[in-house]
């Protein structure tokens, strides 16, 4: 109320003013001396008055109409002296674009009820203050951007659509939202002859940016006709401790043990003491109290014994404003070994390398002779995708490559690699480069190996060279329908014309050979591209393969959501509804075969304190933060005085014309 009225007079004038109404009433009673008028006869008048006396109260009111009008006039004048008015935002442009950040950090509750709700409230304020004909557009953005409402002057619709904006657990990126917003304000240009012209009239707009400002600087963007107004949402003093990493791996020293590794980050301006509780399948397994200095990151390790799949959860307490990064999830999938078929007439070096304890952990190897390739059993198994990796040693793959990754040693697997008979062979090829960047060749040192004879490969388009000799590629890997074929142009054990076995290379004697075999098993025979305990960020798509070779799987998300995913042409499944953090389970039939976790793990989202002093950098423009609106006072006194004037005119008219209602 104090805001509604502004007193303009001091006590003295008010007292004088307050005396006027009683004076008017007094004068009104004094005035009641009637003017005598002689008439021929009061006979008719008396009769008329008698009838009117019946409803005398109303008549008296009517008689005092002038008094009431005068008092109303005084009241209006007094009211306008009190200067009633209300606070309102300064007028917006006739076109406004509201960018609403609905990323994870906007779910922070440092502003009640949440930052997103606060942003919505402020936008609603602006919508309420829109003049008629003003248009506005609403864009919600997190990792991507979405036009919630196109330009409209329908305020009810704007409010409805605004309410429909939901918080997400995604991180923040402004680029896409800005591009969407700039579409109308900065129309493209079309070149004609020597000049270029705009394709449409530019429609300048106010760009309201409701965000907590935690996103990378936007480069390469020109605001053009957009006038940016950055409204930082959130309490600048707020701090947050978040989990920025949580994953599992094998215990370094103890076989059969796993350990979960977590990283905590303190974004408070002061020390924070938190308790990290580690849950396995919903049961508290371990807890640790950590004191983090301001801005410090700290790692935590929880060793645990795991037999089979497990759902891991790490929770921080006490809870802080941003809840989403106080919980992290990880999964341990069923330890499933890759199935490897080794087709060889006999390769002691390879068999030995595949028989190591480490290799056995990764894969179970079945060794067959090349004649097995002709059997029906193999054909069915190959067509069903039973194997993860088939190694063809000293033999050709045959007509149809299996639905599996393959490794061909000394032969080309298919016609895509050129005619098998016409592969040029070189003696003693010199290895000049190995592709260390490829997972297969990581840590594989081929500098000291000798090769007696090698075939120079002509890999198909899209292949990646693994080993290059002076004469040409010796090894390469190429994709095929979602699988990969690796080809080595040189044998390990060759057979001469006489059928005698000879050693073609000294590679098996080098330490790099078992490393290569291990890499190969991991890369080609491992559960291919499986998320195997991995974690993705909200909104990121996940690709995985089925374990049992079904055509569609169900993915159960946190909160009971279920999505059916169909296999694509690459025999993969792609799932993109990873909107919320938590553990997602992949069901093939009725059984859960794989799991993956979705976590925020973004230290810039976890750093929730907005910094109003720091301007946003958009392109080359620095946009200052604005914590509030430019409030203007909308006042009523002009209307009140106009009304008073109107009342005065009516009073004058009635007085002069003596026309009463």
């Amino acid at each position: 109320m104090g805001d509604f009225l502004h007193n303009t007079l001091s006590a003295g004038p008010w007292v004088l003013l307050a005396l006027i109404p009683p004076a008017v009433v007094l004068l009104y009673f004094l005035k009641l001396k009637r003017v005598p008028l002689e008439v021929p006869s009061t006979y008719l008048w008396q009769k008329s008055i008698e009838d009117l006396h019946v409803n005398s109260i109303w008549q008296r009111l009517r008689k005092n109409l002038l008094l009431f009008l005068q008092l109303l006039l005084l009241l209006l004048i007094m009211l306008s002296l009190l200067r009633p008015g209300w606070r309102s935002t300064a007028g917006t442009k006739d076109r406004s674009i509201f960018l609403v950040d609905n990323s994870a950090s906007m779910s922070a509750i440092d502003v009640q009820p949440t930052r997103l709700a606060e942003a919505k409230r402020r936008i609603r304020e602006l919508i309420d203050n829109m003049g008629s004909g003003d248009k506005a557009m609403i864009i919600a953005f997190a990792d991507g951007a979405q036009v919630v409402q196109e330009f409209t002057d329908n305020r009810r619709r704007l409010r409805e659509r605004l309410d429909a904006i939901e918080p997400t657990d995604e991180n923040t990126s402004l680029d896409e939202a800005l591009k969407l917003a700039a579409g109308l304000a900065n129309p493209g240009r079309v070149a004609f002859d020597e000049r270029d012209i705009q394709v449409a009239d530019a429609q300048p707009a106010d760009l309201y940016l409701f965000t907590d400002g935690k996103f990378p600087t936007v480069a390469n963007f020109s605001l053009g006709n957009l006038t940016p107004i950055y409204v930082p949402i959130g309490d600048p003093e707020v701090g947050n401790v978040g989990i920025t990493a949580f994953s599992t791996r094998r215990h370094e020293s103890k076989a059969g043990m796993l350990q979960a590794y977590a990283q905590l980050e303190n974004n408070n301006s002061r020390d924070a003491k938190v308790t990290a509780e580690f849950y396995i399948d919903g049961e508290l397994a371990n807890a640790e109290q950590v004191t983090l200095a301001a801005g410090e990151r700290q790692g935590l390790v929880f060793p645990f014994d795991s037999a089979g799949a497990a759902r891991l959860r790490l929770e921080l307490s006490p809870r802080d404003p941003l809840r989403v990064d106080d919980v992290a999830y990880a999964v341990v999938n069923d330890p499933r070994r890759g199935r490897v078929l080794l087709v060889t007439p006999g390769n002691s070096a390879l068999e030995l390398a595949l028989a190591t304890a480490r290799a056995k952990e990764l894969a179970e190897v079945e060794t067959v002779i090349p004649a097995y390739l002709e059997t029906e059993t193999y054909r069915i198994a190959a067509a069903e995708g039973h194997y993860d990796l088939v190694i063809f040693d000293q033999c050709a793959a045959g007509d149809a490559l299996p639905r599996a990754n393959t490794l061909s040693i000394g032969r080309v697997p298919s016609s895509a690699w050129g005619d098998a008979q016409a592969v040029p062979k070189v003696a003693n090829p010199q290895i000049i480069d190995t592709n260390r960047a490829h997972p297969i060749m990581q840590l594989v040192d081929l500098d000291t190996i000798d090769i007696a004879e090698g075939a120079i490969l002509s890999p198909p388009a899209g292949a990646t060279l693994l080993i290059e000799s002076g004469a040409g590629p010796l090894a390469a890997i190429a994709p095929r329908d979602g699988f990969e074929d690796a080809v080595f142009g040189f044998e390990i054990f060759g057979k001469d014309d006489a059928g005698e076995t000879y050693v073609n290379t000294n590679w098996p004697l080098r330490s790099s050979f078992p490393t290569f075999v291990f890499n190969m098993l991991q890369y080609l025979a491992g559960p291919a591209d499986s998320v195997a305990g991995g974690s993705v960020r909200p909104g990121e798509p996940v690709r995985f393969r089925s374990v049992t070779g079904v055509a569609s799987v169900d993915v159960d998300g946190p909160g009971g959501s279920r999505h059916e995913v169909k296999r694509n042409q690459q025999h993969e499944f792609q799932f993109s509804q990873t909107d919320h953090v938590g553990i997602y389970e992949i069901r093939e039939g009725k059984n859960v075969t794989q799991r993956f976790a979705v976590n925020l793990f973004d230290s810039s989202e976890s750093d929730i304190a907005p910094n109003p002093e720091a301007a946003l950098q958009i392109g080359y423009v620095e946009v200052e933060g604005r914590s509030g609106w430019e409030f203007v006072r909308r006042e009523l006194w002009k209307f009140l005085l106009l009304l008073a004037l109107f009342v005065l005119a009516i009073e004058w008219y009635i007085y002069n014309r003596r026309i009463y209602i």
Binding site: L32, R34, V35, P36, L37, E38, V39, P40, S41, T42, Y43, L44, W45, Q46, K47, S48, I49, D51, L52, R62, K63, R658, I659, Y660, I661
Partner: protein, 298 residues
Amino acid sequence: MSTVSNQPPLLTPQLMHQLERLELVTRKVFRGRMKGERRSKRQGQSVEFADYRNYVPGDDLRFIDWNLYARLDKLFLKLFLEEEDLHFYALIDNSLSMEFGAPTKLRYAQQLAAALGFIGLVKADRIRIETLGPGSHAASPIFRGRASQWRMLDYLQNIEPAGATSLVDGVKRFCIRNSGKGIVVLISDLLDKQGYEAALRCLLAQQLDIYVVHLLCDEELNPDVRGDLKLVDCEDDDVAEVTVSAPLLKRYQRTLQAFTGGAREFCARRGITYVLADNQTPVETLVAKYLRRRGLVR
């Protein structure tokens, strides 16, 4: 005429000229007093044949129908209708309330009485002007013959408002003074707090052919008053405090309508001819149009 020289004459020559062609009519046949131009109930000497009767000795031989005697050998006496004069009374309300209006109602009443009297004088009727006020001056002498017009006008000019006059008292006095039959024209505003009904009943008892000219001025028909007023009755000083408002004016109009309507109905039921006149209608129009239509003049 001589006393109030500053006032315009009650009758202009043009009006007189107009009025000469008219005559007073009565729906009843009365016996007059003197020979006049009107058919009377009495049989007497005129050119208008009425009947025969047997001759009885002593009858005037001049009226024997000799032609009939020649044919029938009997003596019959021809009877003729007597033509007598008509008694016309103009009864003017000269109360103070008649002093209102422009021209005043009284003046208007004088003019009307003069016009009607003039018509009567021209047709050799017996004219008498009376006022409702008390006193010896209330009744005029009887005027007869055209030569009396100046005396009549002089009398009319000298009628003064006579204070509070009760309508019924004035009429009673009139009735006592004049027992003769004839036409009476009551020119009044009827604004008497005791009512006009008793007065009209008195007149009815006289078996007169009664005409009531209800004369109201503009101030009464459309009062142009504003504000908070203390209305003072000019006759009895009665006070009515009014605050003029649109509903009050509307109410006044309704009362006025009821008043005039009531008077008209009262008259209609009793065979009295009622004419509502306002002082803005010229007298000649009233006489030549409204009263002619009502059958007072022809």
